[in-house]
Subunit: 231 residues, 2 copies
DNA sequence: CCAATAGTGTCTGTAAGACAATATGTT
DNA sequence: AACATATTGTCTTACAGACACTATTGG
């Protein structure tokens, strides 16, 4: 450690957001086209620097969530820190990544601040040909993996759904995020058996095609016991 | 977002270490007595600021690990970020916490840089009467919980043991970290059934008192399949 | 022999996965 | 009726936990 008059270095602090949703039964992530210098024109995760010295980090994440995606109250949780010295050509930038889960939304992302924000299927975003700015490919991979794990142990899946939903719709969430097919019969019993996960929403019904299904809403429990197990 | 001449704020970046080990069948954490101003004299986790603008964060964690605890090559993994605006009275300090796991060591922590480094039982460190500097109580709680989860899904437990160990010794790791008692017979079969977790180390033996036990060493597998389940 | 720990065998309940069968809507 | 989806029931298998039992050392 250097002598007393030594001052520790300061770094720029950024937040990056992995905002996931479901569209057409596939997992999508919100990407923006960069409008400024480093990686200008490339696709990137929404994010930005702290506004001022006193802004809370999670508050900054919520601010970006609102500014760049127009999403006010969605599930938000810390993902990881990315601070490799060379990750940003502008200098030493340490980024705190957050994972956000949004329910199904209308096609155009209304009220968007950053031009060119668009939902991209995760499959396409991670395809070999797609280039993402900075280390955002790594962050996206980590975010998707975190979502998969959270689906096992918490009631996060209901955050992908609307206020009320059928068990089939909930199953589609699991299938899309996990990337697997599940047996509807076993899924039905499993979800029903995890008390507190979902609660019936009156005897209401729906009609896509076939027998109408019962409607449910998110239950009071956040940690699932027993957990959902990936095949 | 402010106008072009605006410059984002800079923050101080620190690392904090939750270094866990086993002593007398109890989980212990390495704490140091602070020798400088904020919280002078209080107990704190080892840690410090980045050396210079270009130091990698994990490298800084390893440096502190070596400087403050004299531990060179132990298991190290990122834990979380703590950046609440008021957490450090000196200004805006964002800390990246790491979790380190060390095998059993000789009583005095040799080659220690910070004076007053000592192993403290986690039970005592988290007791209501014990005051820790900054938000280190929260960081320690998160670190212990992370260790508990990692013990379920990875072969982390072997990092608490010496090069070779008996199944009883491995069981003591689980009991100490999880804070529960396990059935030796079921634990024996369970561990043996998780292939790749531990491998026999020749027909060698040991003699504390009672029948000698077979010796094992860490296997090639890091993620346990099936996982160990907490009672 | 007795105490203590290591290691094996057996049983039972719970839960997951496969899949038949029934219910209730649409066309 | 034919079809599609929802919901229920049953069966098989795997595994966790309880616990009797055998094996091998030291005193």
């Amino acid at each position: 450690m250097p002598d007393p008059p030594w001052q520790p270095p300061r770094v720029l602090l950024a937040v990056d957001l992995v905002i996931l949703t479901l569209r057409e039964a596939r997992l999508h992530v919100l990407l923006v086209e960069r409008g400024i210098d480093p990686f200008l024109g490339a696709l990137a995760l929404p994010g930005g620097f702290l506004c001022d010295e006193h802004e809370d980090i999670e508050a900054a994440a919520r601010r970006e969530l609102s500014e760049e995606a127009g999403l006010p109250d969605v599930h938000l949780e810390p993902l990881a820190v990315y601070g490799e010295p060379g990750r940003d050509p502008r200098g030493r930038v340490v980024s705190v990544a957050y994972l956000a889960i949004a329910p199904r939304l209308p096609e155009p992302v209304a009220g968007t601040d950053a031009a060119g924000a668009c939902w991209t299927s995760v499959e396409h975003a991670l395809a070999p040909g797609t280039k993402l700015a900075f280390d955002h490919r790594r962050i996206l991979i980590d975010g998707v993996e975190r979502a998969r794990i959270q689906l096992e142990h918490t009631a996060l899946a209901t955050s992908f759904c609307a206020e009320t939903f059928t068990i089939s719709e909930l199953q589609q969430v699991y299938e899309a995020v996990w990337g697997v097919r599940l047996d509807p019969r076993n899924f039905y019993r499993k979800v029903q058996g995890t008390r507190g996960f979902i609660v019936a929403d009156g005897p209401m019904r729906k009609t896509p095609n076939g027998r109408p299904a019962r409607l449910f809403r998110a239950g009071p429990v956040h940690v699932l016991n027993p957990p959902m197990t990936r095949p």
